[in-house]
Amino acid sequence: MRVANECLTAPCSAACPVQTDTRGYADAVARGDYERALELLLEANPFSSVCGRICDHPCEQACRRSKIDAPVGLRALKRFVVEHTGEHRRARRARQPVLYPERVAIVGAGPAGLTAAHDLARAGYAVTVFERGDAPGGMLGATIPRYRLPYEVVREDIDDILALGVELRTGVEIGRDVTLDDLRREGFSAILLATGLSESHSLTIPGIGSEGVLLAVPFLEAARLGTTTPVGDRVVVIGGGNVAFDVARTARRLGASEVTCACLESREEMPAHEWEITEALEEGIQVMPSWGPRAIVAEEGRVRGIELKKCLRVFDEEGRFAPTFDEGHIATLLADSVILAVGQRADLACIEGSSVQIERPGRLRYSERTMATSEPGVFACGEVATGPGSAVRAVADGHRAARAVAHYLETGELLEQEPVTPPTLGELPDAVAEKVRRVAPVALRHAPAEARVTDFGDFEAGYSEAEALREARRCLACAAGAFADDDRCAGCLTCVRVCPYGVATVDKTAAMPEEMCQACGLCAAECPAAAIALQRFGTYRMREELSALLAQIPESELPRPLVVSYCCLFEVTSRSFVRAHPADLAETGIARVMVPCVARLSVPDILAPYELGADAVVIISCADGECMYPTAEQRLAGRVRRAKALLDEIGLGAERLDHWKTHESAEVSWTAFWEISKRKLAQTAVKETVG
């Protein structure tokens, strides 16, 4: 009996806060099935469009390919999928039936609240989302700069959610226009607070009240609306996190030529993402790590500059925030504006007039495990509860909250939710990593910095189709490789001898440790006991697949000569050959079977088409020397020789089997190969008649 180990999650999925099936969508993209990829994305994350732009991709940080060359560009692949499946996505929208009488009120239309709304609506509850602003989206729409996240992208996700039947009431501030008790009276059985961290912290340094000293959140909001007052030429931003860089890069785009980010943290400690910092530096922003704000230099109530003092250390021995300074080491910067991006806190006005309790100003009394506040039936999620986090973390929290609320509505009880850490693979062993073929990642194309800073346009070009296909193929398919059937395995050591990566071992029977297997399929194709299967390809199963393909056309309409062509999936630069339409076959006479590396075809796979009546088989592998898997080209060549010898012995003739190597790309060369093979067949037929 063959049993795949389904217990291990791929490291990328395990690292994702919502456990997106990253490995699955990379595979779907590589197979040209973008729609399936979209389904996998949306299954885990209703904010897939947003995350395709701004996610901080913990999946990439966990990607085991990093050891070989670079992680797979999973975030950019996500962007590619959502950008290429718009029609399909809109078509799949459907209003969800309301199955239960209980209504849920969600306060705040940010990613956490809207994700909870999405899940609860899908579960059959009537959901109303209250948003005090004019438009939904929370920080995604209000403050994240447009050059990182255009609002239309946010709307793609939000529109899907609203299409489920979620009611959105904008311009309503809970706590001011309507209290939580009012909501109760209105008939809502559960309330979820998802109001985020909408207020910027300020500082208590001298001169902080001067004109020209701004706070990050209102500044970024105004920038989104186009209502900022001029920032001047020289801007100093206090802060070292992502918001500080959003502010700095925004100021740059508003015309400031000298923008400096000064922060307490050392360069290594700076909490902003490396890529944010790099892009900012490219745009001419200066970074001054290990400096703290001392005083605003003002003249007639207007900011002229800022005094900074050297920060010696940010965290104490216990890791607590306790910066120490060298008061004697001062720097003064000239500034037309000083913008503070030193953290955010919650605006808890929504609980005014209710009995929901706070822990201390700005912090709700809240249980992380049950997501409950002090008030029965009132829950909280997202940054208002967890503190600052990324968009995908907000989505994860929204999912958790939906489960908590649904459980409460169903049973009246609170649900304890433990954090989930799925078991996953360790690092790729060095001995295997060195044998894997290096493939440089597709570089993301950014507009040059000088052009970028002139406006708020989108500066990252998404992958083209060819690029997406190329990048998706770099996925190692961790934990989706080969597994051997103990009952059939004869311990013959063929797999050990054939494995190009030194992965297969035999104790009494064979094993291909998941930590190491590269899913090349060579062992499965060579195993004399047919004991090895791959999680992703049916070795020895081509006969069934072809039968199914050919069955779609009535026997009388099958074209003659009938040619079955096994083609290497890794050579296509578009979907044009990937989708096999029955009409295609009737028209061209070529039954195409895309195989992710044709070297995984066993001899019976190569012979199968003839059993089903094919006149010829054409195998098209990748360009010479290009195969992803070492030794695979030679192994395949050996199997082709064997098949040809057998075809001769049978009397069919070795010329009924052709093996081509792609030239440049599938689109460039395959049609010509098929023509040549078909013409050769026609000539053979003539010879047979004449001879």
């Binding site: 004399p528 006991a529 066993s602 012979l607 003839y610 012995e649």
Partner: protein, 229 residues
């Protein structure tokens, strides 16, 4: 391990000419290990037969099966049952000769044809190459020859040293074959036991080998116990 080689396709196809329901039966032991008769090769041969018959416009059914070891009656029994149930008319066994013999015995009235030529007892030299290393002579003298068998590895099975044809370490037959006695001498030199070759050995009793007729081995421990009265 028993090593075998595949019979030419044409020969095997001729064996089953005229039958309409054939089975190709592989063996999961030695012939799997030497890559000629396991489940994968069953699929190859079955496929080949189907293609050939399709070309000839014959409607032959070719079934596939593989047994853990065809040298065990208990493993063959379920296969025999299936052959009877399905009305299989002829079987091609890819097992070594032992398996063919036993399967044929179990089936009696259904012909069993060999799909491979069983050749020798051998071991792996390097991936994909097997060498004959043992002749099953029944009276092992490897303690006298440094672990190198002159019965199997000398073309003439000479017992007392190289013949005059030994050619720079190679057998006079030509090709790659090493002179077994050259190997023995080199080995025993390294072992420091070369002088043992000077001991006089009595004339060998060859009757322990196949030359003395088909052999039988029994182990009492697992023989069926007589029912107590």
């Amino acid at each position: 391990m028993i090593v075998a080689e595949q019979k030419p396709f044409g020969q095997v196809k001729e064996f089953v000419e005229g039958y309409r329901k054939i089975m190709v039966a592989g063996c999961g032991a030695c012939v799997t290990v030497c890559l000629v008769g396991g489940e994968a090769e069953v699929k190859v041969l079955a496929s080949g037969l189907r293609i050939a018959h399709l070309q000839e416009g014959k409607a032959t059914e070719v079934l596939e099966a593989c047994v853990t070891r065809q040298c065990e009656p208990e493993f063959n029994d379920p296969l025999v049952e299936r052959i009877r149930e399905e009305g299989v008319e002829a079987v091609i066994s890819l097992a070594c000769g032992v398996g063919v013999n036993l399967l044929a015995e179990a089936l009696e009235d259904v012909p069993v044809f060999p799909g491979v030529n069983t050749t020798f007892f051998g071991g792996v030299k390097e991936a994909g190459t097997w060498l004959e290393l043992c002749a099953g002579c029944g009276e092992c003298i490897l303690h006298l020859t440094g672990g190198i068998c002159p019965v199997a590895r000398c073309a003439k099975s000479i017992m007392n040293g190289p013949c005059g044809g030994t050619n720079d370490g190679k057998c006079e037959l030509g090709g790659e074959t090493a002179c077994a006695w050259a190997l023995i001498i080199e080995r025993m030199e390294r072992l420091g036991t070369l002088d043992q070759l000077e001991a006089v050995q009595p004339a060998r009793d060859w009757s322990t080998g196949h030359y003395g007729g088909p052999r039988r081995m029994t182990v009492e421990a697992v023989q069926a116990v007589a029912k107590e009265e």
